[in-house]
């Protein structure tokens, strides 16, 4: 897709493209509510700059004139950044984060900040203070979350690529629900500087894109070490090569039986088995494996993530920036009222849970224990990847559901049950669209690899993408 648009930029200019995109964005915003803030005027100016570079015979970069959308928990200097929350409704970013900076340096044009579950807590987009985003493929259904607007913006064709963030599955799950590609890289590959923290030890910026090729291109441009993020890995970024077309011959692929159990939608199971056969025909070795820690992984995630959330969100207190309850008379009232009115119910639920988990008395029996289980899960994955190249599974147990259909938070968390284990282990994983099932609902296949195995993931994802390309 990017290649096609680059050609268009070269022939018609970035300004004319942005004009066209702007019209479409305004229309789709009306239909799907994919954005919280639009930056179309700024995009036009950027397009003019890029055009004058092109006209002067200069190369504005590999993404020259490509429109992109940013999840609204990424900082982009001078623009609003709300995290989908009332508490940051009027917060303007004082700086630009590293990944966004790299995108702009490559010539990309930011057209807007996308809608999301409040502070990335949710799997349907429904917890956003700015109203839910609709799934462009099925507007009566949720787009998934928390990167709901980014997935929708790519699915509706507004932009070929968007950035999201993935903690428990917030890139992969909406990618699956919207029929687009979604990559969560190895923890530490993309700098977190300029990503509002949810659970710092799990958060990663991810890429949503309309093709595997585009995903790989963007990943190559924004990955790599960043001295501003102490948890960023001290390795060179991913380098783009033609290896995504190499096919799957000789790859050893495992399907975890725990991911294929009773709760899995039957048509999705069939789709996975269908792909499995095609992998074998193409020369891959596919076998059933076991990931016994699936259940503990969910429990562990719902201890570690809230603990970090309760700490990371303590800064939203009405003192320096963000919403401050106007009627508060004392410092304590200001804290309590600003946070009570500023945060939605899901956010408050997790802050309270995390605060309780870290309290003396609970710290050892919950938090420390969860850390131990987490390292056990990491070891389990390491062991698996000593004998196979990739894990293959559905991205979600169900296709996208209807608005209001899933009300119980525990049930909602099941939407992330297949994506959480690899998140905890810090491993790269990607959701790739593999056609649709009943009622034309999209299905996503998940590929999980060992540390730095993104190139292998792209290769296999490209193979699957080709099967279902219309």
């Amino acid at each position: 897709m990017i290649k096609k648009i680059l050609k268009k930029v070269n022939s018609d200019g970035a300004f004319s493209l942005v004009k066209q995109v702007s019209a479409q964005v305004l229309e789709s915003q009306e239909k799907y509510n994919s954005y919280i803030t639009l930056t179309l005027d700024r995009a036009s100016k950027r397009a003019q700059e890029i055009d004058s570079l092109l006209n002067a015979g200069k190369n504005p970069g590999p993404l020259a004139g490509i429109p992109v959308a940013l999840k609204d928990n990424l900082l982009y200097s001078g623009e609003k950044m709300t995290c989908g929350s009332k508490i940051l409704e009027n917060y303007f970013s004082p700086y630009t984060g590293t990944a966004v900076e790299k995108l702009e340096e490559a010539g990309a044009i930011v057209i807007g900040k996308t809608n999301m579950d409040e502070f990335a807590m949710g799997s349907s987009g429904e917890t956003s203070y700015f109203g839910p985003t609709k799934n462009p493929l099925h507007p009566d259904r949720v787009p998934g979350g928390s990167s709901s607007g980014s997935a929708a913006a790519v699915a509706s064709g507004d932009v070929p690529i968007a950035l999201g963030s993935d903690t428990g599955g917030s890139v992969r799950q909406p990618a699956s629900f919207c029929g687009v590609c979604g990559l969560r890289p190895t923890y530490g590959r993309i700098s977190r500087y300029g990503l509002s923290a949810l659970a710092s030890s799990i958060d990663q910026i991810g890429v949503l894109a309309s093709s595997v090729e585009d995903t790989a291109l963007v990943y190559s441009l924004i990955s790599g070490h960043d001295p501003k993020d102490s948890t960023s890995l001290n390795e060179k970024g991913y380098e783009l090569s033609d290896s995504i077309e190499e096919g799957v011959k000789g790859l050893k692929i495992g399907i975890p039986k725990e991911y294929m159990g009773e709760t899995l939608h039957s048509e999705i199971r069939e789709r996975i088995l269908e792909i499995s056969n095609k992998l074998v025909s193409a020369g891959a070795e596919v076998k059933e494996i076991s990931l016994p820690s699936l259940e503990q992984a969910l429990a562990t995630y719902y201890i570690i993530a809230p603990a970090e959330i309760s700490s990371n969100l303590a800064r939203y207190d009405g003192v320096r920036y963000g919403f401050r309850a106007p009627e508060a008379q004392t410092l304590e009232e200001m804290y309590i009222e600003s946070r009570t009115q500023g945060f939605g119910p899901e956010v408050k639920r997790r802050i309270l849970l995390g605060t309780s988990i870290l309290s003396s008395g609970n710290y050892e029996s919950y938090y420390l224990k969860a850390l131990k289980v987490r390292s056990m899960i990491k070891k389990e994955f390491e062991k698996i990847f000593s004998s196979i190249d990739l894990i293959f599974s559905p991205t979600t147990p169900t296709p996208p559901f209807k608005f209001g259909e899933v009300k119980d938070p525990m049930e909602m968390s099941m939407a992330d049950s297949y994506t959480i284990p690899s998140s905890l282990a810090g491993l790269p994983a990607m959701s790739v669209p593999v056609g649709s099932i009943e009622k034309n609902l999209p299905v996503g296949a998940q590929l999980i690899g060992g540390t730095f195995s993104e190139p292998t993931i792209f290769r296999c994802a490209r193979f699957m993408e080709k099967i279902y390309e219309s």
Binding site: N73, L74, L75, M81, C83, L88, Y91, P94, Y95, G97, R192, Y193, G194, L195, S196, A197, A199, S200, S201, P227, K228, D229, S230, T231, A307, E308, S310, S311, A314, R315, D317, V319, R320, Y321, L331, Y335, T355, L358, S359, S360, Y363, Y367
Partner: protein
């Protein structure tokens, strides 16, 4: 003070480290200034901003730890200490909890439990009816030094602090100025009846802004606690604030009211790893410590205990002395000591200038002393020259040359002055010849006046005698 009880004191000392930039961002690490001018996304707790550890802090913290004989942990962990307060932008302080950078040291006779690195908070400015936040100091680097609870008197606590201050200033890690807040101290104190009893219930004293207030607050607290205990009451565990006006401690919060800090490892910062080779390298930057230096000043330079003590009190002064001594020579050590501790220190004190800002270079003071010792400059002239040196920063040679102040030692010149005075004062010559030798002083005075103070008085004296003899 309280013979009925055994006093147990432990200190928690915060020291602001001297570094160019803050602990987790590149903002300048300078106290004061126009509020909120040394801030950035990191130290104001903006969303998405991440802390990056300043390696210079590691050097300074390890240096401090070695200076008080601590063991360095090769792996230490940053943790978040969580509580809400408006001067703390993230509502958690990054500190070290379970694994500090250093442990188990000692200074003087006092054991050090631990030394850890942490960030400072900002400052609240209370104006009529509202409070403002200044974040210039937010995320400035601190070390916290915690002693074992084994100090037994307020005097001993004060001595420990003075000693710690001197050592850390020597090591160059901080200026340790309690008034400016670059050294802060909280004190825990409890009383018990017998040596075998477990430690009593303690109170933690805060707002101690000088060594003197540490001692006074502890004295007061001994009285307060012993009164409670003697009357059969129980001390409650609480934090108490020292009130400089009423000279009392006042209850601030009890243990039940204190926060649960919900410590956990900071997921934004990997473990701090320190290799043995780094520790060894830092150790080479440890200067000779005050006691050792004082002894060397006595044995090597032949100074009195007192002079050596005065000169080694501050590292800058001791460095200055040794630098100057190279120029004037070892034999003049006592004269140099006196010049440095009387003239130089006097001038600096009068102007409130520190030794490091002394306008007189050590080599210049050394050459002044050398000139005096070689008889080229008289004591009185030297004082004038010094005043000029202090004012202009010029070398003594330069001033002597320019003002033509050099002592006149040439026989011919002195002869000429003396002959003129004898010729102009026949009455004095007569009196001298009559045996009234006391008038010689008046004649010397005349010569000095004629030579504008430059003639060598000793030589004038000899010459006058010799010339008068000829008159006979």
């Amino acid at each position: 003070m309280s013979p009925d009880y055994i006093v147990t004191i432990g200190l928690e000392v915060h020291v602001h480290l001297d570094t160019k930039t803050k602990l987790f961002c590149s903002c300048p690490n300078i106290t004061g200034g126009e509020p909120n001018t040394r801030i950035c996304p990191v130290c104001t707790g903006q969303p998405g901003a991440l802390p990056v550890f300043n390696e210079r802090v590691l050097f300074q913290a390890v240096l401090a730890a070695l200076a008080i004989n601590c063991r360095i942990n090769h792996r230490s962990i940053f943790a978040r200490k969580q509580y809400f307060y408006p001067d703390m932008p993230t509502n958690y302080q990054i500190t070290q909890h379970e694994l500090p950078i250093a442990e188990k040291g000692h200074l003087g006779g006092t054991g050090i439990n631990r030394l850890h690195i942490e960030e400072d908070a900002g400052k609240l400015i209370h104006t009529g009816g509202s409070s403002l936040v200044d974040l210039n100091r937010a995320s400035a680097p601190l070390i916290e030094i915690v002693t074992e609870p084994e100090i037994t008197s307020p005097q001993e606590a004060g001595d420990f602090l003075r000693n710690l201050r001197q050592i850390l200033r020597y090591a160059g890690v901080s200026d340790c100025d309690m008034e400016k807040g670059s050294m802060r101290c909280d004190a825990n104190i409890s009383l018990r009846k017998n040596q075998d009893d477990p430690l009593g219930v303690k109170s933690e004293l805060k707002n101690l802004n000088s060594f003197r207030s540490v001692e006074m607050a502890l004295d007061y607290e001994i009285l307060r606690q012993s009164e409670i205990l003697s009357s059969g009451g129980e001390v409650i565990q609480e934090t108490r604030l020292w009130d400089e006006d009423s000279l009392r401690t006042k209850g601030m919060r009890t243990k039940e009211e204190s926060d649960d800090y919900r410590f956990f490892s900071d997921p934004d910062l990997p473990p701090l790893l320190v290799g043995e080779d780094f520790v060894e390298e830092v150790a080479t930057y440890l200067p000779e410590m005050p006691d050792a230096r004082k002894n060397r000043f006595v044995t090597e330079f032949g100074l009195s205990e007192y002079d050596a003590g005065v000169l080694t009190q501050e590292k800058d002064t001791a460095d200055y002395f040794e630098e100057a001594l190279k120029v004037c020579g070892l034999k003049q050590s006592k004269m140099l000591a006196s010049w440095l501790s009387v003239e130089v220190a006097g001038q600096l004190n009068a102007l409130g200038v520190s030794m490091s800002d002394n306008p007189v270079k050590p080599a210049h003071l050394g050459s002044l002393v050398r000139e005096i010792s070689q008889g080229n400059v008289s004591g009185t002239m030297a004082k004038d020259i010094f005043a000029e040196m202090f004012e202009t920063g010029f070398s003594p040679e330069n001033i002597i040359e320019k003002k033509g102040l050099k002592q006149i030692n040439s026989e011919d010149e002195i002869n000429a002055f003396c002959e003129k005075v004898l010729k102009d004062n026949p009455d004095l010559v007569e009196k001298y010849l009559d045996g009234k030798h006391g008038v010689l002083g008046a004649m010397v005075g005349q010569v000095m006046k004629e030579s504008r103070g430059q003639a060598n008085p000793k030589k004038v004296n000899e010459t006058l005698r010799r010339l008068i003899e000829k008159f006979q």
